[in-house]
């Protein structure tokens, strides 16, 4: 069995082994192996290519951009996604604009350990994909499975544009798979995680598993719920969503991020517009609440969508 975290480590290992242009830069990622141990053993295995950075998110991203222009393939680790606000300017104004302005590519990958865990609190729990997706020039991935953690990280580095890689902390050690995949869906394609006919749940990241659990629970009520894992939120695979909604006529979008302008807003805007004729009832969304992410696990469980809340929302959708 291999965990989501081990899959990330294996992907980094393979990338470093296969491509001399790849190097890693981030806080405590060297011999210490990173705050979560995603880079464990890599510094020893690839001397001089897994570098501890100062506590300087802005410089970390800025340096990665400079190295990318020089033909390298830097992979940057933010210790938590939440700290990427301190490197925000370099990401959205420098990396994201470089190709458009200069025709020079900027193949950096910024790894953001994302999402909530119990006791994480307001500054160690954020899901920032919508922030980055709003800016032109970035590709934003939110792998929700062990297989995707592995294959999407490999692809992220292969892409010639900057990639924001939102890996989910809650899945790091919880999620396990039999083996690493040999092949994968192309980047930009959503995946039907579960076939259904009565309604479509569109989701991504850790919410894939809450949604699947919800779908399972609804089986006893006689419902077959389709679950679509977006995988990449920018670009967003509208076609797969529309095809699913064409089958089910109902859609709920579940996202751990905040509601206003989040992934779910973009999904609803697209599906409601392009799938206007396909929807039997209005599309719905379920998000984290519009407050900072609370520290206490009891509050946290009520703040983000859970399988129970998804069941309730889906029932509501089905009964509309």
């Amino acid at each position: 069995m291999i965990t989501y975290l081990q899959a990330l480590n294996a992907a980094l290992d393979k990338l470093l082994a296969d491509d001399p242009r790849v190097f890693l830069y981030g806080q405590d990622i060297g011999s210490f192996g990173g705050a979560f141990k995603v880079t464990k053993n890599l510094a020893a295995r690839y001397p001089g290519r897994v570098l501890d950075a100062p506590l300087s998110e802005d410089a970390i991203v800025g340096m990665a951009i400079g190295a990318a222009i020089e033909g390298m393939r830097p992979i940057v680790e933010m210790q938590f996604a939440d700290f990427s606000t301190c490197g925000f300017n370099q990401i959205v104004n420098h990396a994201a604009t470089l190709f458009y302005r200069t025709e020079v590519q900027c193949p950096i990958v910024v790894r953001l350990p994302s999402g909530g865990t119990p006791g994480g609190g307001p500054f160690h729990s954020q899901s920032m994909e919508a922030l980055y997706a709003h800016y032109p020039g970035l590709i934003v991935m939110t792998p929700g499975t062990v297989e995707d953690a592995y294959s999407m990280l490999l692809e992220a580095v292969a892409i010639d544009d900057p990639v924001i890689f939102c890996e989910h902390k809650f899945l790091y050690n919880h999620l396990k798979a039999e083996a690493l995949p040999d092949e994968a869906l192309p980047v930009g394609k959503a995946r039907i995680a579960r076939r259904g006919r009565d309604a479509t749940i569109v989701t991504h990241g850790a919410m894939v598993h809450e949604s699947l659990a919800a779908a399972e629970e609804l089986v006893s009520d006689g419902y077959e719920i389709e679950v679509v894992d977006l995988r990449t939120v920018k670009p967003l695979d509208t076609d797969t969503l529309l095809a699913s909604v064409a089958r089910t006529g109902r859609m709920l979008c579940v996202s751990e991020a905040w509601p206003w302008g989040g992934v779910s807003a973009e999904v609803l805007a697209r599906v409601s517009t392009e799938g206007f004729g396909l929807l039997d009832v209005p599309a719905q969304r379920l998000n984290a609440r519009d407050t900072p992410i609370p520290y206490h696990p009891d509050l946290w469980s009520a703040h983000r969508p859970t399988a129970d809340a998804i069941v309730a929302s889906t029932r509501h959708l089905l009964e509309m």
């Binding site: 950075a53 006791g119 307001p122 520290y295 696990p297 703040h303 859970t306």
Partner: protein, 317 residues
């Protein structure tokens, strides 16, 4: 200082027992420096402690009770379960609740001091602490520089514990000594052996007084070692043994106790009694807090705004 140590030992054992859901980040070995900051501040001053400032917090008025409430997520704690562990404070009392982003509290204290000046208050001091790693942040630089331009009574204390998480100073900065940064901001510089309480009290006393007297920002570097992991999940195996065995690795509490005994200001017995007393207070308070209710999600007022009229009902969990 002793109470802070005992309390932190309790937090550590509560962590190991799984009684605390989030992380636990302790200040063992840094108490002398921290307490010296808190104890030179007065009521009406401003303090924004950081990760390893349990001792300084208590000297500024924080309590065993509120510490435990915050760590254990009691609804009665100052953060009401919304934030936890070191992210606590009572900003209305000048005791600020840190956000995690390192360096961010410096401009906040500067701004509070600017406000005091505008309101005509004099003789106020604002202190905040940061680690060696935190000096690499843009926030540190911008905040200290802006405070210097305004010549604000800010005391910025750097606890140079030689590591930022696992990262040693050699990967964090290239100056010979962190104190060399002061001149670049045009602020007064102080350096101190952070393992020696007497020295810490003296130097912080000078720094706080200089700020109070209109000397502008004071940059204090205390050299020491943290005698514990970055957090309780961390065994700190990366810490250099030579450093541990150097004077930096001394336990400030032991140094202090030896001093007290040597000077005949306290007997070993008395110190042991204080310890028991502290332990009793901490244990009793823990028992009490563990019986307190957790925050109730159903009663939670799910809005981030103070002005209720702007709160929106979106389709949420």
């Amino acid at each position: 200082m002793l109470l802070a140590r005992i309390l932190e030992e309790k937090l550590s054992s509560l962590y190991r027992a799984g009684a605390i859901k989030g992380g636990v980040f302790l200040g063992r070995g840094q108490e002398a420096l921290s307490v010296s900051v808190g104890s030179h501040l007065r009521k009406g001053d401003i303090f924004a402690p950081l990760i390893r400032d349990q001792a300084g917090r208590m000297a500024f008025g924080d309590t065993v009770l509120d510490t435990l409430r915050t760590y254990l997520g009691s609804q009665l704690g100052s953060m009401r379960g919304r934030d936890g562990n070191i992210h606590r404070g009572r900003p209305r009392e000048g005791y600020h609740a840190m956000i995690s982003h390192l360096g961010a509290m410096i401009p906040l204290v500067a701004g509070a001091l600017l406000a005091r000046r505008m309101k005509g208050e004099t003789g106020v001091v604002g202190a905040t602490c940061l680690g060696d790693g935190g000096t690499s942040t843009g926030a540190f630089h911008e905040g200290l520089n802006a405070a210097a331009v305004e010549k604000l009574p800010l005391v910025l204390v750097i606890a140079n514990n030689q590591y930022a998480y696992s990262t040693p100073g050699s990967r964090q900065f290239a100056c010979a000594n962190l104190i060399d940064k002061a001149a670049g901001y045009g602020v007064a510089a102080h350096q101190v052996d952070g393992t020696d309480l007497n020295e810490c009290l003296r130097v912080l006393g000078e720094a706080v007084q200089a700020a109070r007297n209109g000397g502008g920002p004071q940059f204090v570097v205390g050299n020491l070692l943290r005698l514990v992991g970055h957090g309780e999940h961390d065994d700190a195996s990366y810490v250099d043994t030579a450093l541990k065995e150097s004077p930096l690795g001394r336990d400030c509490l032991e140094v202090c106790e030896e001093f007290l005994v040597e000077k005949d200001w306290a007997t070993t017995k008395e110190i042991a009694d204080w310890r028991v007393e502290a332990k009793t207070e901490v244990d009793d308070t823990t028992t009490k807090v563990q019986r307190e209710p957790s925050p109730d999600p159903a009663e939670e007022d799910w809005t981030a705004l103070s002005e209720r009229r702007f709160a929106e009902e979106l389709s949420e969990a």
